[in-house]
């Protein structure tokens, strides 16, 4: 049985750490091109920043609204990824060929650079949302016992 913790220390730390983790996750995502990191790591960190208040304060308020929508958000992330892939296919290129994305005024390498960022964002959304969704699924009904 998982109950929200009523210690002041836990609550304060959770409040302080949540934005810091999110900031770090954003850094990891955007700097995936130059340093270790990328979509998966950033997504997991984002998931951690959502799970921390959920564990500390329990599921209430805006977090409860997330509960059933999380998996949809996961679908949206993967649709972003696959959509970036599908666009070149429909334009006569290959699936996931970012070099053929229809953005004018950019050379292939730059297009690929931005394509990578786009799919990493998709991965981040999916990983974060799905991790939260799995957590919700795992603790579901356990509370009623």
């Amino acid at each position: 049985m998982i109950r929200p913790h009523d210690s002041v220390i836990v609550h304060t730390l959770a409040r302080v750490f949540t934005p810091i983790i999110q900031l770090f996750a954003l850094y990891v995502l955007i700097h995936g091109h130059d340093s270790p990191g990328g979509g998966f790591q950033a997504g997991t960190l984002f998931a951690a920043s959502f799970l921390l208040p959920i564990i500390a304060f329990g599921i209430q308020g805006s977090l409860a609204a997330l509960e059933k929508r999380a998996i949809i958000l996961g679908g949206v992330g993967i649709l972003l990824y696959a959509g970036i892939g599908l666009l070149p296919l429909l334009l006569g290129g290959e699936f996931l060929n970012y070099g053929k994305l229809p953005i004018p005024g950019m050379e292939t390498a730059a297009l690929r650079h931005w394509g990578i960022l786009g799919v990493e964002i998709g991965v981040t959304i999916t990983v974060a949302a799905t991790a939260v969704s799995i957590y919700y699924s795992l603790r579901e009904r356990g509370e009623g016992q």
Binding site: D34, S35, P36, F40, I134, L138, R141, G142, Q145
Partner: protein
Amino acid sequence: MADILFSRPHFIAFIILFLLGMYIMVVCLNLVKKLIGMYIMQTSIILFFITLAVKADSTIPIIMPSVSALTPEAYANPLPHVLMLTAIVVGVSTLGVSLAMVLALYRQYNTLEEDQILGKVK
């Protein structure tokens, strides 16, 4: 053969972890223990792949734009790293699904031991 093996500590560790994980998965009757074994087995394969990527006297595969003459020998092989990123994520997904099954089983049979569940089924 023996001296070849002792020059490869990573490989010996890989074999130990792989067999240990598989042994626990097959023999242990506690469902969560089985999953601990599964985790160890999956990570041991990552160890195998990562040692394939090592090059002596090399650095991490991040190439600074300032580098002029690029020698591939100076950087670790990135391909196994990529494959193992995938394998880690696949591993955690499998773990999530299997824990969901364990929880569902626990709700119905109130135990984590495979033999007790089998006893309650019949």
